[in-house]
């Protein structure tokens, strides 16, 4: 079974990897239930849904839309998250690091030990 190809994470990006439930009709990526939405009688991924929403709302309203989307989906996932990612990308030119940036990474638990030092005065400067 194909796995979900929709990217998640803001600072460190990765593919979702959950079992796919279908293919986005716009970009053709496999996507899971969490990252799919019904839109105009078809199924598209959240990344493409954000692009579609952008076409129908002005820049001024986009921040507000993220808040609205969050309020509507308070117990569920996850359109507001992709709106936030998109906003960050547009206004701040930040896209996070992905696996290509981390070729030398070994994501093991023992790579580094956080010693908890400086805990008391973290924010003193």
């Amino acid at each position: 079974m194909a796995s979900c190809e929709i990217q998640t994470g803001i600072f460190v990006l990765r593919n979702c990897g959950a079992p796919s439930k279908g293919t986005c009709k716009v970009c053709g990526k496999s996507s899971c239930v969490k990252h799919s939405r019904a839109f105009e009688s078809t199924i598209i991924c959240l990344e493409c849904l954000v692009e579609e929403k952008k076409k129908t709302s002005s820049d001024k309203k986009r921040g507000r839309n993220m808040e609205d989307a969050y309020e509507e989906e308070i117990g569920t996932d996850f359109l507001w998250y992709y709106m936030l990612k998109d906003q960050l990308n547009d206004s701040f030119s930040f896209t996070g690091f992905d696996s290509r940036d981390y070729d030398s990474f070994s994501l093991t638990e023992d790579t580094v030990v956080w010693d908890g030092e400086d805990e008391g005065g973290l924010f003193d400067s």
Binding site: T8, G9, I10, F11, V12, R14, G63, M66, E67, Y70, E71, I74, G75, D77, F78, W80, Y81, L84, Q87, L88, F92, F94, G96, F97, R100, D101, Y102, D103, S104, F105, L107, T111, V112, V113, W114, D115, E117, D118, L122, F123, S125
Partner: protein
């Protein structure tokens, strides 16, 4: 309807959730998934309670008015006294519900800022990683947060009285997927200024103005085996290191005129992103 739904949710809460609604404080370490399981129900309850409370004052006024209006007619007829009593009962019932929900109310930062922030951190961390959370949602203008009082007196007007409060309401830390250690601290510094002055007619007026500085402090410890300082990093960013970690601190400030406001979530995410902009992974960068 909102009250019935809110009450149904409230009745499902466990002891820890009920205690949080009473004390408005929370401290512990759980995975983000577990935190969300605990907190999302509370957020939903808070949303329903806010909706219900926004309507209940109107209802109390309406039933109260009808009760008084009908009572007047009881001097003429017997029947309306029962109707007046019924309206009075409805007003009282709505008032009781309103008071109950008011007692459980959580500051909006809880559901509009903290819960989505935990959702973001859930995506950034490994499944079993624990998130340390210390939360205080008590009223920021409580006496325990009072830090200073200043008074400017002169021979005439205007006179100023200023009270300062400092509310450190959120601390959290978690190890992210890339083994970086993220710590966040949010604090509101509040100035409540009372100005007394005289108008042109000689009448003395007092006005109260509130100014709030919402401060977010972000600290990320990047493992040196995986990151190096970025070539184009901002020299003004606080940067220190020990044998294993590069420590980067970033502060974000947001000013408002209401204690109900908060630093926008997107601004906090930008602050964390700022620290990531100061490093580059030790890999084959594209």
């Amino acid at each position: 309807m909102s009250y019935t739904e809110a009450r149904a949710l409230y009745d499902q809460f466990d002891e820890a959730q009920l205690q949080f609604l009473t004390t408005k404080t929370l401290e512990g370490s759980h995975t983000p998934r577990k935190w969300l399981k605990i907190l999302q129900k509370l957020a939903k309850f808070d949303e329903l309670a806010d909706k219900s409370r926004s309507k209940s004052m109107r209802k109390i006024f309406l039933w109260g008015f009808l009760s008084v209006f009908t009572f007047i007619f009881t001097f003429i007829l017997i029947f309306p006294i029962l109707l007046a009593a019924w309206f009075a009962y409805l007003a009282y019932k709505n008032w009781k519900q309103h008071q109950f929900l008011k007692g459980q109310d959580l500051r909006n930062q809880f559901r509009k800022f903290l819960v989505p922030l935990i959702q973001i951190l859930r995506e950034e961390s490994a499944e079993q990683e624990k998130l340390y959370l210390k939360l205080d949602l008590n009223h920021p203008l409580s006496q325990q947060n009072h830090v200073d009082f200043q008074e400017r007196k002169g021979p005439g007007y205007p006179k100023f009285k200023e009270n300062y409060y400092r509310s450190s309401w959120l601390n959290m830390s978690i190890k992210l997927r890339d083994q970086s250690m993220l710590s966040l601290a949010l604090e509101d510094v509040i100035r409540k200024r009372q100005v007394t002055k005289t108008g042109s007619s000689g009448k003395i007026k007092t006005k109260t103005k509130t100014k709030v500085k919402h401060l977010a402090s972000v600290k990320v410890g990047f493992p040196k085996v995986q990151y190096q300082p970025a070539a184009d990093r901002n020299p003004e960013v606080v940067f220190s290191e020990d044998a294993n970690l590069m420590l980067i601190k970033w502060k974000q400030k947001y000013t408002s005129s209401s204690i109900e406001d908060n630093i926008p979530l997107s601004e906090l995410v930008k602050a964390i992103s700022q620290t990531y902009k100061q490093v580059q992974p030790l890999g084959n960068l594209v």
